[in-house]
């Protein structure tokens, strides 16, 4: 998994190294479908995560002992909604079946989306703010600041990120807050690189020189001239990081180290693994949902990067 963490760095370098090539025309034609399908899926997952409480289905950890390991489409009698407020058992169709403890897969998938999305979206925000700010400052002022920042990011990169995550989860407890902070910290170098590289290209441009000549302060140049140009590539890059963090969260819950009280896709895959031979769907259904979500963020990030990355279009 720290391999995934290093993936941030790798992506940054790949993005720098790989100038987009190939048939631009064909790409543009496919652009619309490849842009809207991922957006639609992400919106759908988002909707599920937000509305999970209001659907007529059992709670994700309600166990129906009469329907353990039930195949998709089985009907059962379950309390709908929160256990305390439900009005007795009601007729219910397990559209995707139940796990070996009789819990509804649909319900667990929808609630599991919450952990994945919260972590996947909040952690990059930390990296975006800290790494982005650091990168812009380093790219603008250069000198000692840049040298120090390079040293710090090099250290974070050489440090196996998994250890930080494991240590925090294991010793401080896998609360959502702890995990978000730790993962956010690990994304700092990646954002730092993107911000610095982009700032470097803009710091030399005419409009910055012009602003300097007109007596604008450094801070106001950074905020008003450089930030608006740097923020788009960073946001697009953040989409790729989101995809990666969803995987990392999956790995953590797979190891049983994510938020312990909440259902999560990785956790479902880990539990399903024990019944892989008899009931492969327990593994593969959440795995497929995770794959689609990761793929969607990757596709979205990739397409948008092609549209916004100045370095790629200039080279």
């Amino acid at each position: 998994m720290s391999r995934s963490i290093h993936g941030f760095e790798r992506r940054a370098r790949v993005a720098e190294a790989v100038a987009s090539s190939g048939a631009r025309g064909a790409r543009r034609r496919k652009l619309n479908v490849m842009l809207w399908l991922p957006i639609a899926w992400i919106a759908f997952v988002f909707g599920c995560a937000l509305s999970a409480d209001w659907w007529p289905m059992p709670e994700p950890d309600y166990m129906d002992f009469l329907s353990q390991g039930a195949p998709p489409g089985t009907t059962g009698e379950v309390p709908i909604g929160a256990f305390e407020s439900s009005e007795g058992l009601e007729h219910y169709v397990f559209w995707l079946g139940t796990d070996m403890m009789g819990r509804d897969i649909v319900s667990r998938l929808m609630f599991g989306a919450r952990v994945s999305l919260t972590l996947g979206l909040l952690a990059p925000l930390i990296g975006l703010v800290i790494g982005g700010g650091l990168g812009m400052a380093a790219g603008y002022w250069r000198g000692m600041l840049e040298a120090t920042a390079v040293g710090v990011t090099d250290t974070i990169l050489a440090f196996p990120g998994i250890v930080l995550l494991l240590a925090i989860v294991f010793y401080l407890g896998g609360s959502l807050l702890n995990l978000t902070l730790a993962l956010g910290f690990l994304t700092v170098p990646a954002f730092y690189r993107v911000a610095r590289a982009n700032t470097l290209t803009y710091a030399e441009r005419e409009f910055v020189t012009a602003a300097k000549a007109m007596g604008a302060s450094d801070v106001s140049i950074l905020a008003r001239e450089i930030l608006p140009n740097v923020i788009m590539p960073m946001l697009v890059y953040a989409l790729l990081i989101v995809a990666l963090l969803i995987v990392v969260e999956g790995v953590l819950s797979f190891l049983g180290l994510s938020v312990p009280t909440a259902p999560s896709w990785g956790g479902m895959i880990a539990e399903g693994r024990e019944y892989l031979d008899e009931h492969p769907r327990l593994c593969f259904v959440p795995a497929f949902v995770m794959f689609l979500t990761v793929l969607s963020f990757n596709l979205l990030g990739d397409r948008l990067r092609g549209l916004t990355d100045v370095r790629e279009s200039n080279i």
Binding site: M1, S2, R3, S4, I5, H6, G7, E9, R10, R13, V14, A17, V18, A19, S20, S21, G22, A23, A26, G151, D154, T155, L157, A158, F159, P160, I162, V163, L164, L166, A167, F170, Y171, L172, A243, V247, G250, V251, F254, L255, G266, I269, R273, L276, D277, P280, C283, F284, A287, M290, F291, V294, L295, N298, L299, D302
Partner: protein, 318 residues
């Protein structure tokens, strides 16, 4: 050149120091105390104090770090709190597993990436190129641990060709040993070949536009020979960087794969040590992983020199 290498080395040593200090402080700040674990539930405060003193835990963090560095300088990384096994021995005994996994996975990845990247560059824009590009994009979105499970399901459970988990040492025979590494290596390779392939493809497309490729064609050489002998090497610089980053990340990062397939490598040693609060092992593993990462990066930089004769002589001059 010498100055460049020295500066680079100094920076890398600095990074390793920073990592080890960071780990030490982090571990020291953790609230849980191993002395309670070792002493057991009924231990008296005096017994716990004795254990703490014995392990050196009663001293200030900085003093402990100093001690640790001093003994490290003498080649001693301390002993496990639990088993009293020297940390160095513990790492050493797990190392072959991790290295074998690492080498095999990158060999598989390169075996996929090089022919695919070369062919896609040669026939850029063709149907094959587009299909492979999309496939690659899909595969990079599959989390490694999910891919591992899919492979286990297909090859171990359904087809029963390979074992699902477990490890056989070399002493049990080469084939027995290799069988246990095929699925773990593939789980890594099937994801990691994608960035390698993409990088090679785009660099190769640029190389194929060079004059010296026209020259090679004018010599009447067949396409495959031009691609492999003339175009591959000048196109492989970025590939090497990516490969280095992947290997560097894998030294500690194959942890999830080692866990799923029950391979006794460095990653597993580390995760078990964390579970067991065996700080000395944790400290040693992290140092080892950081050094590995840093060394690989250094080797990659030096590989450029070997691959590109232009750098070689430029360096000899100054």
């Amino acid at each position: 050149m010498a100055k460049f290498v020295t500066l680079k080395l100094l920076r890398l040593i600095g990074v390793v120091f920073a990592v080890s200090a960071l780990t030490f402080v982090m571990v020291a700040m953790l609230p849980a105390d191993i002395a309670y674990d070792i002493a057991g539930q009924d231990a008296t405060p005096a017994q716990i104090e004795a254990i703490r003193a014995e392990l050196g835990l009663d001293q200030n963090v900085l003093v402990r770090y100093g001690h640790w560095l001093m003994s490290l300088a003498q080649g001693d990384m301390g002993r496990s709190f639990r088993s009293d096994e020297p940390v160095l021995d513990a790492i050493w005994s797990r190392l072959p597993v991790t290295i074998e996994l690492l080498v095999l996975s990158q060999v598989f990845a390169l075996l996929l990436a090089i022919p695919a990247g070369v062919y896609c560059a040669y026939r850029a824009g063709s149907r094959f190129d587009r299909v492979l590009g999309s496939t690659g994009f899909g595969m990079i979105s599959v989390p490694t641990f999910v891919l591992a499970i899919v492979l286990i399901y297909l090859f171990a459970l359904r087809l029963e060709w390979l074992p699902a988990t477990g490890y056989e040492p070399f002493s049990e025979g080469v084939w027995a040993n290799l069988r246990t590494f095929v699925l773990p290596s593939l789980s890594i390779a099937l994801v990691e070949w994608v960035p390698l392939m993409r990088t090679l493809r785009s660099d190769m497309i640029a190389t194929l536009k060079e004059d010296f490729i026209s020259m090679a064609k004018a010599k009447g050489l067949p396409a495959w020979r031009i691609l492999t002998r003339h175009a591959l090497r000048p196109s492989s610089f970025t590939l090497i960087t990516i490969l280095g980053l992947q290997i560097g990340g894998l030294i500690g990062g194959a942890l999830i794969i080692e866990t799923i397939f029950a391979l006794p490598g460095i990653g597993r040693l580390l995760i078990n040590a964390i579970y067991a609060r065996d700080y000395m092992i944790v400290q040693g593993c992290i140092l080892f992983i950081a050094v590995g990462y840093v060394v690989i990066n250094f080797v990659v930089d030096m590989l450029y020199v070997a691959l590109d004769p232009r750098i070689r002589t430029a360096g000899a001059g100054g």
